[in-house]
């Protein structure tokens, strides 16, 4: 007997039946993102942060002192891990299968997120390129601002269904749609 292991996204069932044509307010669920967690060894925090700032290919998310998440496209997977592995004083761990990345964008993105997170997301406080860990729909997640009206949420895989459902519920009045993105 041969077994076929198929990659199945955890949100596959949640997204089935949704209209695929995106509205202005849209959630893009990355189908196979590469997410790595980076921890700096004691005393190396500043040096690692410096190296991460000049990292090419992945976007670096701040989690806490000496702790980051690096998200990148699936294509870069191993290369990104290698590049991060070269940083002295840092430990790298692949979290791609344990995390789900959702990008929410659109003119009402901030209004929708205002019902999900309790942090101030105004541009003066949470500027483009900034990221932090926060509770999103009661789940500890990492939120990053990747554009003026574009946010990326990284949640643990097992909570992704619940966060996704609540996010869509909050976005219903703004006609929020969702689909998988191919990268």
């Amino acid at each position: 007997m041969t077994l076929h292991f198929l990659h199945r996204h955890v949100l596959e069932d949640h997204l089935a039946g949704f209209e695929t044509r995106p509205n202005p307010n849209h959630v893009n669920v990355a189908r196979r993102p590469v997410i790595l967690s980076v921890l700096a060894h004691s005393g190396h925090e500043a040096a690692v942060a410096e190296r991460l700032a000049e990292l090419a290919g992945g976007s670096v998310r701040f989690c806490g002192p000496g702790e980051w998440l690096v998200a990148g496209p699936a294509l870069l997977g191993e290369e990104l891990a290698d590049r991060l592995g070269e940083i002295p004083g840092a430990s790298v761990c692949d979290q791609s299968d344990g995390k789900v990345l959702m990008a929410i964008g659109g003119p009402s993105a901030r209004k929708i997120l205002a019902k999900c997170v309790a942090a101030d997301l105004h541009g003066d406080v949470f500027a483009e390129g900034q990221s932090a860990n926060m509770l999103c729909c009661h789940v500890a997640s990492n939120l990053a601002r990747t554009g003026a009206d574009l946010f990326e949420i990284i949640v643990p895989r097992s909570f992704a269904g619940s966060v996704f459902e609540e996010l869509m519920e909050m976005g219903r009045e703004y006609a929020l749609t969702a689909s998988f993105s191919e990268d």
Partner: protein, 93 residues
């Protein structure tokens, strides 16, 4: 009466993101200290009204232990520091 805590790492956050451990004032006795000192450290707590130092864990954010200086009557927060920095300044005294 929203309890907003300004985490030194994450910014201003609601109390829902935190877990409160308790008084930050007791100092851990040395391992050779008398049983009475250990008993006091483990079990005896004041129940003050007003300004107190407390350990708060930012479970929903940076997952760091913080020391919050606040008034438990008015809910006014006077200062928040990382517990590691708090211990460092305490040790320096």
């Amino acid at each position: 009466m929203a309890s907003l805590i300004t985490c030194p790492h994450c910014g201003t956050r609601p109390k829902e993101e935190f877990t409160i451990r308790g008084d930050a004032a007791p100092r851990r006795p040395g391992s050779a200290d008398r049983d009475e000192a250990w008993y006091a450290y483990v079990y005896i707590r004041d129940n003050p009204k007003g300004r107190i130092l407390e350990y708060w864990h930012h479970a929903g954010g940076c997952r760091r232990w913080l020391v919050v200086d606040r008034d438990n009557l008015t809910h006014e927060v006077f200062g928040v520091v990382d517990a590691a920095d708090f211990q460092r300044t305490e040790a320096a005294e």
